[in-house]
């Protein structure tokens, strides 16, 4: 099929969608009427007006697959193994009155088998779905206060209910540029969160594994590799032969530790996040984490850049002067876009994988109407399980490919920066 035919098909498809749009809306309106009797007790608080009258903990209202997915891929101040919630240390700095609080998140009094909703406010903070939020009102009591519930509006703002009073909260403190409802807030969360714990676990595991392998090379010099050593050696040699040697040239040994660290750390975290029911932590799918890796790549590339690298950026040799005026801004932008795409690629691939798996599991709750329809629920369990298994096996592949792509791209950027100027004839 030619590309032209493809485009025609695409436009026909969207045209059809637009035409079908009006009919769809009518159907939804009809559906809404059927559910009205069912949800009457929720509606009578009146339109979009939020009220603390019915605030409570536990499940209520319709199942929201999107919100569930975002809850599961975001970082948390509790570590969850299956339904079990394990408290983690909180280190919170309050910008408003400059107070630093350190306590265990068990102070929030969440259920051990729940969703990490704290039943108490502590030091002016609450735990909402596993994440700490600060109450905006400075008058709120600082000691441990029992709260009635936390309610959310359509914009994902949370309100804390104490008695019938409602207190607004700030968004959670994240370094993901506010992409997932967080951002730079009046309080900073330096806590040992779920992602940090996963990172420490993977770091310690890697340290143990590589020290053991390094020792095996010393002890068994000249002999065939054995055990763990023979498992890691092909992977290591593959990265060395496919990534380090072709891209970094003769000086590859200088940068190989960096490339290997990137590869194995990303791979370890990707695979650790794949283990079901063991936290499912989404570390490599966290923008702050991938941003730090990309910043490392940015500094290593630009600090090791030689004269030719900078010449090619600011004054590309061998092209007419008027082209240089266009080329220089593009090349300067490229210096920053390269690490930016490194950051986004890893983040988007891993987050998308986690989300698709959660959405497939959510199908059970969507078809069973959150537990109301037994037939829908039981009928979806097997297809949804199979779909999840299929996605998980694809994600195993993606875990390797993304770690490899991050390593190969970093190596090629560094390689371009340190390359000797030996292609004079080409200009």
């Amino acid at each position: 099929m030619s590309i032209k035919t493809l485009f025609t098909l695409v436009f026909l498809f969207f045209g059809g969608l637009l035409l079908a749009g009006s009919g769809d809306q009518h159907d939804h309106g009809h559906d809404g009427h059927d559910h009205d009797t069912h949800e009457a007790h929720e509606d009578h608080s009146g339109g979009h007006e939020l009220s603390c009258e019915h605030a409570s903990f536990g499940h209520h209202g319709k199942f929201d697959a999107g919100a569930t997915a975002f809850h599961h891929i975001s970082d948390a101040n509790v570590y969850s193994i299956g339904p079990l919630q394990i408290p983690l240390p909180c280190i919170l700095y309050n910008n408003r009155d400059g107070a630093l609080h350190m306590f265990l998140s068990s102070e929030f009094g969440f259920d051990n088998l729940g969703h990490g909703d704290g039943h108490y406010a502590f030091n002016g903070y609450v735990l909402d779905g596993g994440t700490v939020r600060m109450i905006a009102d400075p008058e709120f009591p600082m000691d441990k206060t029992e709260i009635k519930g936390i309610i959310h509006d359509d914009e994902n703002n949370a309100y804390v209910c104490v008695g019938d009073r409602m207190y607004g909260t700030y968004a959670k403190s994240t370094a993901d540029f506010g992409l997932f409802g967080g951002g730079i807030t009046p309080f900073y969360d330096f806590s040992i969160t779920k992602n940090v714990v996963s990172m420490i676990i993977v770091f310690l595991f890697m340290l143990w594994m590589f020290l053991k392998i390094a020792k095996a090379y010393k002890l068994r010099e000249g002999q065939a590799p054995k055990g763990l050593q023979s498992f890691i050696e092909p992977i290591f040699v593959f990265i060395q032969d496919e990534v380090c040697k072709p891209f970094l040239g003769d000086k590859y040994l200088r940068y190989q530790p960096f490339i290997m660290t990137l590869f194995f750390f990303i791979l370890g975290l990707n695979l650790f996040g794949q283990i079901p029911f063991l936290g499912g932590s989404n570390v490599t799918g966290n923008l702050a984490f991938t941003a730090v890796l990309a910043i490392f790549a940015f500094f290593v590339t630009n600090l090791s850049g030689n004269k030719h690298y900078w010449e090619h950026i600011f004054w590309m040799p061998g092209v007419p002067a008027w082209v240089k005026t266009i080329l220089t801004p593009v090349e300067v932008l490229g210096v920053f876009i390269k690490p930016l795409t490194l950051m986004l690629r890893l983040f988007a691939n891993i987050t998308a994988g986690h989300m698709v798996i959660i959405i497939f599991v959510s199908l059970i709750f969507i078809f069973s109407q959150n537990g109301d329809s037994m037939v829908g629920g039981l009928g979806t369990v097997i297809p949804s399980g199979l779909l999840s298994l299929f996605m998980m096996s694809i994600e195993l592949l993606v875990a390797f490919i993304q770690a490899f792509v991050f390593a190969i791209l970093t190596a090629s950027y560094i390689g371009a920066a340190i390359e000797d100027h030996h292609h004079e004839a080409a200009h």
């Binding site: 590309i3 988007a348 490899f404 190969i408 090629s412």
Partner: protein
């Protein structure tokens, strides 16, 4: 409504990347069929090119996330 338009934009970005990565894959397969001994070089260059094409699509996806 803004969310739906962003979703359509996301889909369009993915179509572009899909065509690009498809072409890369097709040509790489062709190249491997012609020269099976160069499979290692072709494979790593294929992944590198696919990653570069994907980068443009990812920026589009993130932008549509931000405006949604």
């Amino acid at each position: 409504m803004g969310g739906s338009i962003a979703a359509i934009g996301m889909g369009l970005a993915v179509i572009g990347a899909g065509i690009g990565i498809g072409n890369i894959g097709a040509k790489a397969m062709e190249a491997i069929a012609r020269q099976p001994e160069a499979v290692g070089d072709i494979r790593s260059n294929m992944i590198l090119m696919a990653a570069l094409v994907e980068g443009a699509a990812l920026i589009a996806i993130v932008v549509s996330f931000l405006v949604a």
